[in-house]
């Protein structure tokens, strides 16, 4: 079963400029080898639930290492059938226009 997880993760105790902390997560995501889409408001990852959530857990651990308070927001879309949905979902809507 294909899962797409879209998440954003940031500290509350490091002020308003968060890009160094987000970069830490992006590095972990890139090293995971999973298909991903990094955007302004979050990153979408596709894979099996356990492998995707292992990446999220690693990002969280890397942030908790030196942050006192961390907030995570995540949404997941789990659907029976083949993967490759990160792009196919977009194409499927555009064809309807």
């Amino acid at each position: 079963m294909s899962v797409i997880v879209d998440f954003s993760l940031f500290p509350l105790d490091k002020g308003e400029s968060l890009s160094p902390y987000v970069a830490r997560s992006l590095r972990i995501i890139q090293e995971s080898g999973l298909p991903y889409d990094f955007r302004a408001m979050g990153t979408s990852l596709e894979g099996e639930w356990d492998e995707v959530m292992e990446v999220v857990r690693r990002c969280l651990e890397a942030m908790r290492a030196d942050c006192n308070r961390v907030v995570l927001h995540l949404k997941a879309d789990c659907r029976k059938g083949p993967g490759g949905r990160l792009q196919r979902k977009i194409d499927s809507v555009r064809e309807k226009l």
Copy 2:
């Protein structure tokens, strides 16, 4: 490190009346023994990250068993220090009023 996870989980292919599916999750949450707060728009669970996310995973598995498409929304608040925050966060705001 104390984690509060608030989540909602529902199928997209079972029509608009979802309480039987939500009840399935609530049973799993109750059996977990973790402190929780079940409300109209989601359930908050408190514990260690791994134990809380194991409950979420079990709820997801129970729903995927007979649903073709399942959506999850989750937010987490991770903070250094003691647990018991499900109630203490509420009290702390009310004292400021």
Copy 3:
């Protein structure tokens, strides 16, 4: 059409102790007169879309007044039929147990 909106709103540039800022929103919510449920991870409000979102807008304005960066998370459940769903949704799931 009944709408329940559950939201959380906090500044990123004020450190990790946020209860004074959350209290500011809670005061605005209480003054709105709409049915609400204030919890550890967010507040649920019920009403018409325009009146509920006017409360959210006022909370946001009150926070932007002295915060440089503010994050909002919101989910809404809109359903045809009568209101009173803040409690009825909970009862409806509990009856299934």
Copy 4:
């Protein structure tokens, strides 16, 4: 004050294939003339709070017209300073890698 709103909106009573409903929202978003980024898990819109939320409201109205139950998920990032953040936030993180 620049606001980026990322949102997803879908009916619960129309089965698991949602692209015709999402296309309806995308058309409204495109007609708004606001900068946007349409992706697999949601669409990000940038502008003033009132103009962005007017687009969200129009998408919701178009979906409620023939759907009995509609779910919305939204997150907003409001920051003092100039706009153009849909792309600049991404660049700012990539520079840190």
